[in-house]
Symmetry: C2
Subunit: 353 residues, 2 copies
């Protein structure tokens, strides 16, 4: 359905980023890099949750040393974020980074950039040019927010030119903002202008309850247009949640095949005369134990019940007193309402075998 925009392929260690490959999920370590054991644990948790790349901050020389040790202890490629320091960039590359992130707002001298490019080239690693609206604040002066996109793109184009001049093309681009509209506009603009893979994210989106909706809107809208080759959901909270939301966004538009069971639930209305939502919560708990992508539908009445049942592996639908169980759309049992959960449970267990 989605036609990915054609891009070059860029490698970050064993992970390929670009339109010929599935969209790569990434996240970031949120601990002091010098706490090696804790960082390794968090990286492993992120990898187990589905992250294929993990970024980590290298603010000091001590962090560079710790980073080189962490690289050796984990199985997935790491990305170093070096913020202001060309020294940290070189140290991170020599320490085993598969990719580094450069923020044009923070590293500006052409000599510094060239030094980093040469080091990245020698080590065959990738570089993300990651513009952040907040980091290039000085460019905007009094430019109103809605007119900043062209300035961000100009900054990106100028930076890319330095890389191309040096024959370095293993670059991934990102333009982030905490504003959804500007994130959309600026990513659409760079997608038209360049053929490098794009890293998508909405920056500083906030606490989970505030971040999930705008991140889903921004990243979902771009992916649907074929834009985006790697994504990172920023949440002020546990990074594992970032990976879970990333998977949900990708799965919603068919860019990720979830191995988890799926629960379809009707939102209920005045036609529904039983505690469907309580029932669905119980089913959800049951499904936590299921290890395959079973699709279960819990429907409140006959309006859409049989229709959703037809697209589900197992479905239930109930009237005031009776409940019906469907398997691949075929009604296989009619039971008392009070026995519906037990009957469904049995069917799910059967399916598991």
């Amino acid at each position: 359905m989605i036609k990915r925009r054609k891009t070059r392929t860029v490698s970050a260690g064993k992970v390929k980023i670009g339109s010929k490959h599935p969209v790569v999920i990434q996240s970031m370590v949120k601990l002091a890099t010098t706490d090696i054991a804790a960082c390794v644990k968090q990286i492993n948790a992120l990898s187990a949750a589905g992250a294929q790349l993990v970024r980590i901050a290298i603010p000091t020389r001590q962090d560079s040393i710790a980073f080189a040790k962490i690289v050796k202890k984990v199985k997935i490629p790491l990305i170093a974020d070096i913020h202001f320091s060309p020294e940290r960039a070189v140290e991170a590359i020599e320490g085993g980074a598969a990719k580094i992130r450069l923020n044009p707002g923070n590293i500006k001298s052409e000599d510094d950039i060239n030094r980093i490019i040469d080091c990245a080239k020698a080590h065959k690693i990738a570089i993300r040019i990651g513009i952040n609206e907040a980091s290039i604040r000085n460019l905007f002066h009094d430019t109103p927010q809605r007119k900043r996109t062209p300035l961000m793109i100009r900054e990106m184009a100028g930076y890319i030119r330095l890389f191309e001049k040096r024959g370095f093309n293993d670059i991934v681009l990102s333009v982030k903002s905490s504003d959804v509209a500007r994130t959309l506009e600026s990513n659409i603009a760079i997608a038209e202008k360049f053929d490098y893979p794009i890293h998508l994210g909405l920056t500083h989106a906030g606490l989970a309850e505030d971040a999930i909706v705008p991140a889903s809107v921004a990243i979902g809208t771009l992916l649907w247009q074929g834009i985006g080759d790697t994504i990172r959901i920023s949440i002020a909270g546990d990074p594992v949640q970032e990976v879970e939301i990333a998977k949900k966004i990708l799965a919603s538009i068919g860019l990720y095949k979830s191995r988890e069971p799926q629960l379809i639930v009707c939102p209920t209305c005045g036609r529904c005369r039983w505690d469907l939502i309580g029932f669905a919560r119980q089913v959800k708990k049951l499904l936590k134990e299921v290890k395959n992508p079973l699709r279960v539908a819990v429907m409140g009445c006959v309006v859409n019940g049989p229709g959703e049942a037809a697209d589900a592996d197992i479905a239930v639908c109930a009237a005031a007193d009776k409940g019906f169980i469907y398997k691949k759309g075929k009604k296989i049992a009619t039971v008392k309402q009070s026995q519906l959960f037990a009957a469904l449970k049995k069917e799910i267990e059967k399916y598991e075998k």
Copy 2:
């Protein structure tokens, strides 16, 4: 930024639906319609949360009677969902519905449809033609899911023809599916084909934690393309939450001006050496009391801190020991880390006055 697709304007009581008007938020009552007092309470809660239209199910004659009483007790226009029964449609219209929803999968006889149209015309109310993939299951036979969109559109076109033949144009269209890709495809198709306002929704999206991401992706993507004149977020849970999520989706792309304070929070990384997330949670609590759209940023370090501060009314940014407070981008105080919260609280209180 968003160019709404041009549509006719359709009125549901005092509420106007169409591209000349802001996108209308709606939700649905989830209680037995015969429980008049509880329904009135829920409708008022939905209205207070921001819903401008509320739908309610009318499965039986008793529900029609209750509906007519509810209409008189609430201040916002109500939409009646009559599912299978032309009698309920007529009763609901006569009972004061501002709009009714007809599901082409459930009301098929041309005589029945004409009777409903004539009644709607006499009472000057609107009709939503609401196709639901699950309700027209019988049309698909063995058509694989990804090929169903043209069948849904054909069904819609046939139904619309009956209305146009009778000179009735006060219609709103919807095509819902529990699948995001099909929701996108089919809404894009009807948006190209017709100039009636479109009601957007993702049906049977599930429990809140499962529904929010796909609903945001589907509805956000369509709205960004200018498609959608009224939206309903389906969540198997409290309908007030449906309205809150609808507002968040609209606000994220500038289609709704939230009056609530906004909290920008950096997701933190290894550079952040203080409990920023705990701090942000405390600020969030504080902001619950704030009654204006104050924009507060809580940032972990100097990488993006000053930049986000520039776009915020009040911002804080901290290093290991010191914290900085910004007002409209200007640093106004440097305090000890331990005093940062108290200092921020004071600034927020000042702003409130």
